[in-house]
Amino acid sequence: MNAQLQPTGSAYFITRETESHERRTLAILVDNEPGTLARVIGLFSGRGYNIDSLTVSETEHERHLSRITIVTRGTPHVLEQIKHQLERIVPVHRVVDLTTVAVERGHDRPLERELALVKVSGAGDARVEALRLADAFRAQVIDANTEHFIFEITGRVSKIEQFIAIMTPLGLVEVCRTGVAAMNRGAEGM
């Protein structure tokens, strides 16, 4: 599993990870009640797991169910633990590893989309260029005056990253991102 370092002169064993990290997207269905999100986040911080992205919203109002989407990284062993530890939380109904399911169904990865609001200010050529590039990225202008634009852009994480990188020299002021929403292709549910 992991390489064991030589005796450390402590009561514990120190391990060094030798397995490579994988990126996974998890969908977690939970009871929407106070403390549930804190429990999920506390699990990640308390056990030293990574969170690259986290989104949450109530998705079934009648049953008070929320869906949390977490993008995480870890060795296969850690990722298995993350899933089991999440399932142990009392208000957690289901944990689905969307990445694994996607591969099982013959896809590369699940559908993942993120929304970002990007504020760019400037004048002259830079302003024209920002608007032209936004159009190329199919970003919408949702607010503007003579000195700024706010663009709304939706897409894969890589697209958003690229858009922000391009806007940086053109007068980028502020960015707000939702984090990843994810779902698998096909007729079946999660």
Binding site: G9, I14, E87
Partner: protein
């Protein structure tokens, strides 16, 4: 554990409305609670007022909230019921945290009710306010802040259900003071639990068949059991004994699982792990099939993970799916309640053809050779009481009284585990996972409350016992005749042992200067004090201790520099144990090599 608390007693039909405090007490009654360990304060006074006006639930007053927690743990572990504690807001809740984490790590069902400032004051930094659910979230199985009195009954019942079922654990119900006063509707315990919480109790049949087939082929099998067997109830211990009898396999256990298989049983190898016996650890290392039942491959058990039982196929039975493959990869995972799985496996074993026990002969010969190494041996001494000798004499003089043993944490704990024989489950209460010094005295108090006529002994160390010594006062108040048997070496012995091993024998702050006179201390509490300094006086002194019908503090002066062996030094595998006859000063100093020390 599947069983819920004992049958609801003749509860009055819920008619009309009750106050929140009445709801709490009614819910305790309906969940079969007879004793609550607690300490009053401003934010729980309405519940205390309600307790005062009834006689079904007895409140047991402690001297510190940590003591309430450990007492409730001892109560739970010796009865199989949930332990219940009641504390106030703020410092009451924060003092309970150590006991909650202790119960979490040892999977003990503990229901902790905390008072909270009124809902309108939450978040205002009110007097004795703290974020109880926030603080206790990582150290409970689940917790609740009840803001609506109409939810209170349902939450109380769910709290007991969650504490007792699946992998048991601690829960906290935080109740603001205004909710305790408010009137609401009482609902009796519901049988339908929440959909998201459905612990799996029945093992997968195919996996169990695969496990039995694997066991049948084994030439060098071992059964490694843990606290899960105890938690599953007495029937699980019974089934374990049946399985061992049928198969003729050797059996070892973690610290938590002692008593599930009797120490006098012929297949017993003793405890395994860092201070386990040579035969248990060697058998673990060399086995070809390992059956792990209700244990979790803790780091004190495995030693070096990459050298842990390298040639075995492993079967792991556990009720908690997250325990599977957490530290050690297993070949056949079986998720379910230990009792149910054992029942099925015994049935499957019987159903298939009889195996030939003689095939295990070479394995048993090997084990007997390891046994002959006598790894628990120590040098007897006529002038000074050896701590191992003290535990052996205590065992010899009390074993026919079916005693309940608790411990603190340290060398004395390991000596108790090595030298005291446990014949039955629920007789051994020790802080295994968290290693809480100060656990044993209040735990013994809790055990004695549950079993007023039993002999309850806390095998203690001089350092640990001072951490919760104030609970002697509780023992006196409730006529709980607990026996505090202190192996007094005037050191934090285990700390010193590690300093000798790892830190060049520089004994930094591990010497207990200015210890109290434990005999006078006993007298100050109104208890009985005994001091014993000579091996020749020990039997008479222990007999005196047993005969006294009130709390006793026994100051057993033992060899100051004795160390706890055998031992797997850090970074070593099971087959690299340091044995007592090899543990010279030089061997101890060099057990962990220089390169290892530099890494610290």
């Amino acid at each position: 554990m599947n069983k819920t608390a004992s049958e609801p007693r003749g509860a009055e039909p819920a008619k009309g409305e009750m106050t929140g405090a009445e709801i709490v007490v009614q819910a305790l009654r309906d969940n079969g609670v007879e004793h609550v360990f607690g300490y009053p304060g401003g934010a729980v006074l309405p519940i205390y007022d309600e307790l005062f006006q009834q006689e079904d639930v007895q409140h047991v007053l402690v001297r510190h909230e940590q003591g309430a927690g450990h007492a409730a743990e001892g109560y739970a572990r010796s009865t199989g019921k949930a332990g219940v504690m009641l504390v106030t807001s703020g410092p009451g809740a924060t003092n309970a945290v150590t006991a909650l984490q202790d119960a979490l790590m040892d999977s003990i069902p503990l229901v902790c009710i905390t008072g909270q400032v009124p809902t309108t004051l939450i978040g205002s930094d009110a007097f004795q306010e703290c974020d109880t659910v926030g603080i206790t979230r990582p150290c409970t199985k689940h917790n609740w802040l009840v803001k609506d009195v109409d939810q209170l009954a349902a939450v109380m019942h769910e709290a007991f259900h969650i504490a007792m079922t699946g992998r048991p654990g601690p829960v906290v119900v935080d109740i603001p003071k205004d909710v305790q006063f408010a009137k609401g509707r009482y609902t009796p315990p519901q049988t339908a639990p929440r959909p998201s919480y459905q612990p799996r109790v029945q093992g997968d049949l195919e996996q169990m068949k695969a496990a039995v087939a694997m066991l049948r082929e084994a030439k060098k099998p071992i059964i490694y059991t843990g606290g899960g067997v105890i938690n599953s109830g007495p029937e699980a211990s019974h089934l374990l004994r049946e399985l061992v009898e049928l198969t003729g396999f050797p059996v070892t256990s973690t610290l938590m699982g002692l008593g599930a298989y009797p120490a006098s049983g012929e297949r017993w190898l003793g405890m395994l792990g860092m201070h386990g016996t040579y035969e248990a650890n060697m058998a673990m290392h060399d086995c070809d099939v390992m059956l792990c039942i209700g244990a979790r491959f803790d780091d004190r058990i495995t030693g070096r993970i990459d050298a842990f039982s390298p040639n075995s196929r492993k079967i792991h039975v556990d009720i908690d799916p997250s325990s599977i493959n957490k530290n050690v990869r297993v070949d056949v995972p079986i998720i379910g309640d230990v009792g149910r799985v054992l029942e099925d496996m015994v049935r499957l074993w019987r159903a298939t053809a009889h195996s030939d026990k003689s095939a295990l002969e070479p394995w048993w010969q090997q084990i007997d050779a390891w046994r002959a190494r006598d790894s628990l041996a120590y040098k007897p001494n006529d002038d000074v009481i050896m701590p191992q000798y003290a535990v052996q004499r205590l065992y010899a003089l009390t074993r026919d009284r079916d005693p309940y043993i608790t411990t603190e944490v340290g060398q004395h704990q390991m000596w108790a585990a090595q030298h005291f024989g446990f014949e039955r489950p629920n007789r051994w209460m020790t802080s295994g996972g968290l290693g809480t010094m100060g656990y044993g005295l209040p735990a013994a108090f809790g055990v004695q409350i549950a079993h007023p006529d039993a002999l309850v002994i806390d095998i203690a160390g001089d350092a640990s016992v001072l951490m919760t010594m104030q609970e002697m006062s509780s023992a006196i108040q409730y006529n709980a005749p607990i026996k505090i048997f202190i192996l007094n070496n005037q050191y934090m012995g285990m700390v010193r042992q590690w300093q000798q091993l790892l830190h060049g024998n520089r004994l930094s702050h591990s010497y207990m200067e200015s210890l109290p006179d434990f005999v006078l201390l006993a007298q100050a509490y109104g208890a009985h004090g005994i001091r014993c300094e000579k091996p020749g006086d020990l039997d008479a002194a222990i007999t005196e201790m047993i005969s006294i019908d009130k709390p006793v503090i026994f100051d057993c002066r033992v060899a100051a520099l004795a160390n706890c062996f055998p031992m797997i030094p850090s970074g070593k595998a099971h087959n690299e144990m340091l044995l007592p006859d090899e543990a010279t000063d030089e061997a101890v100093a060099n057990a962990i090599d220089a390169r290892g020390r530099e890494l610290v």
